[in-house]
């Protein structure tokens, strides 16, 4: 019997359902293959660091899904051709892909559309152009367009069998093209990042050059400032020199007797002038230090003597306020290498400050001691003054800063003293420590290393002279050369007071004319003079055999180190900075004239 139609229909329906189920399973398998490939591909994209490694690895992953034999990636260049960017040859016989490909109608179509399979590459114009030995090993190919951010590329998978690629490959290619396109985008982003880095480097370079130029301008400005300071020093000291010198002459009653009232007035003038000189010196010292133009004149110093000397200089100040000074130095014969002048200046600054800020009948004590085993020397000035709160201690060493403007008004000062102290100590390789509390006094400690400072090259030979008074004989003749009449008057008066004869010249040229007629025993000449300056004048004298050994004392208002060296190099026997301390001048003249007599 034939089966009835109803069971047949049921069978058919059941069969259809089973087929659908199987189709669904097949679909699932395909999707799993796709997702596995995608995951592997994403791993490659994540882990690869460069285009050179990304695409070969990605092609290796895609090979599992497409089952191609070889594959390559061609990147579209602006000139309208494709360049080989990466390839993967999975088989034993490696296929060497051409490096350059022309874009024809076929590739245009691929770029503008979807993946295309070629069942026979020999019929495709873009392929025909290549070497026959290459084409002999390629039957069919799959062409997949890749879209980057701005770049276009082509993924080509090949198989030696003609007609190998079909619907399944094309369907898969459409989905996985996204993965390969992403690799292209990643590469583009890397390139963009590289470009940005390069641009950034260029900008940094440009900025550096700008900064270098700015730095150079600053250096030039600093040099101008130094020159300005030097000139200002000259301009300020010259008249001040005359003021102080004349005042001293008058106060010594060289020019005639004085009334008590005149003496008091002269004393005020002298004090004010000296204060003004101190201010100028401080400013110049600070400028020199900050400009790095200070050389230390290091020599073995007995710290006991240094301390005593400094205290002697502030003794009067202390007595004025009935402040008791104390001093201890342990060990007694403690020595180290220091620039005596500068360190004494630092100590005086500290002691003066301590006295200034200590109420009357207070106590200021200087302690010098060696601290072992650190090989440090500590010079500490302790006072029973007003003290400084902790918040203000950090600002103490900033130039022109006063902790309290009210204090400035009450106690005076430039606000440069501690800054100078700090710089001087640091030049010696040391540091300044402060310990203070309001109302409980302060301790300023200079911590210096022992023998750690390299000796500098300052030539001390030129400074060796005897300060002993040799006495006067035959009233030696001294030629004074200075373009400022007030200075000529000052020195002339003083030298006469000392018992010398003088010749006066307002320029180097005039001096030479005088010397043609009469040779002096010594020449006292200014450096900063118009037309023929002091250097030139001295050089001319030294070139003349007759005047070669004539003692010459140079006077300068410039106190920069290079000026001093230049003066000595020009042939001067000695130099003095204006304003000249007349006592020192007397000693120098006596010494040089005595030496001349021996010669």
């Amino acid at each position: 019997m034939m089966p009835s139609e109803v069971p047949l229909m049921e069978n058919e329906r059941l069969r259809e359902l089973l087929l659908e189920l199987e189709r669904a399973r097949n679909w699932e398998r395909l999707l799993r293959l796709e997702s596995d490939t995608l995951l592997d591909g994403l791993k490659v994209l994540t882990l690869s660091e460069s285009f050179e490694t990304t695409f070969p690895r990605l092609l290796q992953v895609l090979q599992a899904a497409f089952e191609f034999e070889q594959a390559c990636v061609l990147v579209l260049k602006q000139e309208g051709h494709l360049e080989l960017a990466a390839f993967h040859t999975g088989s034993q016989t490696e296929l060497e892909f051409p490096k350059q490909w022309q874009v024809g109608r076929f590739f245009e179509r691929v770029f503008n559309g979807k993946p295309i399979a070629a069942f026979d590459v020999l019929e495709i114009q873009e392929w025909k152009e290549h070497d026959s030995s290459f084409l002999a090993r390629v039957g069919s190919a799959l062409h997949v367009p890749l879209k980057g951010l701005s770049q276009k590329a082509l993924l080509i998978a090949t198989h030696s069998q003609k007609g190998y690629f079909g619907a399944r490959h094309l369907s898969l290619a459409k989905r996985l093209a996204l993965l390969a396109s992403q690799a292209l985008r990643q590469q583009e982003m890397r390139q963009a990042l590289q470009r940005m880095n390069q641009e950034l480097e260029v900008r940094v370079l440009e900025r550096t050059l700008e900064l270098q130029e700015a730095n150079q301008s600053l250096l030039e400005a600093a040099q101008l400032k130094d020159e300005f300071l030097a000139n200002m020093s000259h301009e300020l000291r010259t008249p001040l020199s005359a003021v102080l010198g004349m005042t001293e002459l008058i106060s010594r009653e060289v020019l005639g007797p004085l009334t008590p009232k005149q003496v008091r007035s002269l004393s005020t003038i002298q004090e004010s002038g000296k204060h003004l000189l101190t201010l100028i010196n401080d400013i110049l010292d600070l400028a020199k230090i900050q400009a790095g133009k200070v050389d230390l004149n290091l020599e073995p110093i007995c710290l006991q003597e240094l301390g005593t000397s400094a205290l002697n200089l502030v003794q009067q100040l202390a007595e004025n306020k009935r402040i008791q000074l104390g001093f201890s130095c342990l060990p007694f014969d403690l020595q180290t290498q220091l620039d005596q002048t500068k360190m004494k200046q630092a100590l005086i600054n500290l002691l003066s400050n301590a006295i200034k800020f200590t109420p009357e009948e207070g106590f200021v004590h200087l302690t010098i001691e060696q601290k072992s085993p650190l090989d440090e020397i500590i010079l500490a000035v302790k006072d029973t003054g007003i003290g400084i709160c902790e918040a203000d201690q950090g600002r103490l060493f900033q130039p022109f800063v006063q902790i309290d403007k009210g204090l400035t008004r009450r106690y005076g000062g430039t606000g440069l003293g501690l800054t100078l102290v700090k710089h001087i100590v640091e030049l010696h390789g040391g540091k300044v420590l402060v310990s203070s509390h309001p109302g409980q006094g302060s301790v300023f400690s200079l911590v210096l290393p022992i023998n750690q400072i390299k000796n500098n090259s300052f030539n001390q030979d030129n400074l060796n002279f005897s300060s002993r008074d040799s006495g006067l004989s035959n009233r030696p003749v001294i030629l004074i050369v200075d373009d400022h009449p007030s200075n000529l008057d000052l020195f002339s008066e003083y030298l006469h007071f000392l018992g010398y004869q003088t010749l006066l010249a307002q320029s180097g040229k005039e001096a030479l004319e005088i010397m043609e007629k009469q040779t002096p025993d010594l020449i006292l000449t200014d450096i900063q003079m118009p037309e023929m300056n002091g250097f030139e004048f001295i050089r001319i004298l030294r070139q003349n055999d007759f005047w070669r050994y004539l003692p010459i004392v140079a006077l300068t208002s410039l106190s920069m180190p290079w000026e001093k060296e230049k003066i000595i190099e020009s042939g001067a026997s000695f130099y003095l900075c204006k304003p000249v301390d007349l006592t020192v001048l007397k000693q120098i003249l006596t010494s040089l004239l005595k030496t001349k007599t021996k010669l």
Partner: protein
């Protein structure tokens, strides 16, 4: 992508074509690139040719004869004086080419020749098409598929139907715009901007009866399990061939439509699928002649179907085609081509409107055209291109986004 369908049953073929053509092009802003012409042998194709030749040069034609009529979304169309259906297709962003070759060489070479012509006409030399549509004279279909695959590979889907006449009397014809042939093949290649969805099925199940082919040559089956094939078949079908066997020879197409022989050609998972062969004649000595090749040593199954399954099958195949598209958007379905076995149609001819209805239910309100063929070609679910009998192929034109 644009698809339109028209038809006619005017008694005069040239007038009929003119009527259908005018109806067809109304739907196109430009001309269609390809026109499928399915005509019954009631029309003298040679009388159609002047009209075809007058078509603009950009219009290509793929024509073949269909058994007794055609079907479209409008219904089953059959007239004793003849009739035809047209399906116009246009895809300006894609390419289409048609090639025809007379059978003057091997069928395989003939197919290659026609395919090369088609690819050349599409201007896509070397480029794998999305799909190959084929219409061949009956009897050479396996070689035709072989020839196609030898050129573009086995991974390109092949779909089509063999030319037919009304009574298996050799009147079938294949024609292009300029040529009509009786023996040969016509091929169209598609390079589409959208997608072509397809399915290939039969409406038959294995009955459980099975035998080994012990003697066969081409499409003649001499013995099953060492016995005359007709006797074995008659036994399986409970004597439906008794009357013919009594006369020793005779046409058996109508008796065997619901009981074809099936060859196991593949399976999806554990579910086998069969290539059907339709016995058409009992030969002297108890041999059976079929519409598909038989291979000695293989097993054949007796398949069985019902009129109901043949009716519903068309819609099911269309549905299966649509299911191949992920996230189907019905608004992108532009139309369909249906290849329906002539034998099946003859069995359920009075109920063909139901077949049309099943297709409309599956495809929706889109135009479609169906031909009734003497052999069907399609791509099985496993991806193999096959020729079979009593099969249904549906090709759906699915537009790109």
């Amino acid at each position: 992508m644009k698809v339109s369908v028209s038809w006619t049953n005017q008694p005069l073929p040239d007038l009929g074509f003119d009527e259908a053509w005018k109806q067809l092009i109304q739907s196109f802003s430009d001309l269609p690139q390809l026109v499928f012409v399915f005509s019954t042998v009631g029309y003298d194709i040679n009388q159609l040719m002047p009209a075809l030749l007058e078509l603009p040069p950009e219009v290509q034609v793929l024509g073949c004869t269909s058994c007794q009529g055609v079907m479209s979304h409008a219904g089953f169309l059959s007239a004793p004086t003849g009739g035809l259906g047209l399906l116009g297709f246009s895809d300006p962003e894609g390419a289409i080419g048609v090639g025809l070759a007379d059978l003057t060489q091997s069928a395989c070479d003939t197919a290659r020749q026609a395919l090369k012509q088609a690819i050349l006409a599409a201007d896509r030399e070397g480029e794998s098409p999305d799909l190959v549509f084929v219409s061949a004279s009956p009897g050479i279909e396996e070689e035709i598929i072989q020839g196609i695959e030898s050129l573009v590979g086995k991974n390109i889907p092949v779909i089509g139907g063999s030319a037919a006449d009304n009574e298996v009397s050799g009147l079938w014809q294949i024609f292009s715009k300029s040529q009509v042939i009786s023996e040969g093949v016509i091929i169209a290649v598609f390079y589409c901007s959208g997608k072509l969805l397809f399915a290939f099925h039969s409406g038959y199940d294995p009955s459980g009866e099975k035998a080994q082919i012990t003697q066969a040559a081409d499409r003649t089956l001499y013995q099953l399990d060492g016995k005359p094939a007709a006797e074995v078949y008659n036994h399986w079908t409970n004597g439906i061939l008794d009357s013919v066997l009594a006369q020793q020879t005779g046409n058996i197409l109508s008796q065997t439509t619901l009981f074809p022989l099936g060859r196991w050609v593949g399976q999806i998972g554990e579910i086998p699928y069969f290539q059907l062969s339709h016995p058409e004649r009992v030969l002297a000595g108890g041999a059976l002649r079929l519409f598909a090749d038989m291979v000695e040593g293989e097993d054949v199954w007796l398949m069985r179907g019902t009129p109901e399954s043949l009716i519903q099958r068309a819609g099911n195949v269309a549905r299966a085609a649509l299911e191949t598209q992920e996230q189907l958007d019905v608004h992108r379905i532009r139309g369909a081509l249906v290849i329906y076995c002539a034998g099946c149609m003859l069995t359920i001819q009075p109920r063909m409107e139901e077949v049309v209805l099943s297709l409309r239910q599956a495809l929706g309100e889109v135009p479609f055209l169906g031909a009734f063929t003497f052999g069907e070609q399609g791509c099985f679910p496993g991806g193999e291109n096959r020729h079979g009998n009593l099969m249904i192929s549906v090709l759906v034109f699915y537009d790109a986004l």
